[in-house]
């Protein structure tokens, strides 16, 4: 079972964790991203996330499905924020339940690692002296 969402408002780690709780689960691993104050020594004013929403949802679902199959995960919740985020806010949450902790760790890490490579979401870092689309150039 999976719960895949894009949100314009604050994400809830509690919601994701409670979604994945299950009588068969002995372990939940939850990854919570945070917007840092600094990146490469520069102060970030805010981040702006945009998504190709339809495809982002289908890619996140595909990733969750693969993680459930490969690692025998029980339930997965992936929520990603879009729009403008301030320092300290949460851009992404991945919560995974499994019978045992090794599978929960592996599946959670697989989801966030793969999400960062394949899900069509773009992050613009806004500094005092300009803005850049992250990873756009090699």
């Amino acid at each position: 079972m999976m719960d895949i969402q894009l949100h314009r408002e604050t994400l809830s780690p509690e919601y994701c964790r409670q979604y994945v709780a299950d009588p068969q689960a002995g372990a939940i691993v939850e990854f919570v991203g945070l917007v840092r104050q600094q990146t490469k020594g520069k102060t970030v004013l805010r981040l702006e996330f945009e998504a190709y929403e339809k495809m982002a949802l289908s890619e996140m679902s595909r990733i969750a499905g693969q993680a459930i199959e490969r690692y025998n995960a029980i339930k997965i919740s992936i929520h990603h924020r879009i729009g403008v985020l301030q320092t300290g806010e949460i851009p992404v949450i991945v919560a995974v339940s499994a019978a045992h902790r090794e599978a929960a760790f592996a599946a959670c890490q697989y989801c966030i690692d793969t999400l960062k490579v394949t899900v069509p979401i773009w992050k613009k870092e806004v500094f005092e002296d300009g803005a850049v689309w992250v990873s756009a150039h090699p």
Binding site: Y52, K54, M55, V119, P120, I121, W122, W133, A136, H137
Partner: protein, 80 residues
């Protein structure tokens, strides 16, 4: 045929628009679209990569396009 194209991230800045239309010969594939884009927007070559999605899924170079497809330009992603 006229292909309707969605742009995102830095690719929207390069194209200067959220939506593009490109004229391609009937039966053109993704590789031919990429070649046409590179001619029209030379700065695409400076991107880390540019993928093409057709109907919200990553497409191969030999995927054949039609006028009803939703085509999207996917510059390097940076979610998470």
């Amino acid at each position: 045929m006229t292909i309707k194209i969605l742009t995102f991230g830095i690719m929207r800045d390069i194209a200067g628009a959220e939506r593009l239309e490109m004229e391609l010969p009937n039966g053109a594939n993704v590789a031919e679209l990429e070649a046409a884009l590179a001619l029209q927007f030379p700065s695409i070559r400076r991107l880390g990569a540019l993928f093409i999605a057709v109907n919200a899924a990553y497409a191969n170079p030999d995927t054949v396009l039609s006028e009803h497809d939703e085509v999207a330009l996917i510059p390097p992603v940076s979610g998470g």
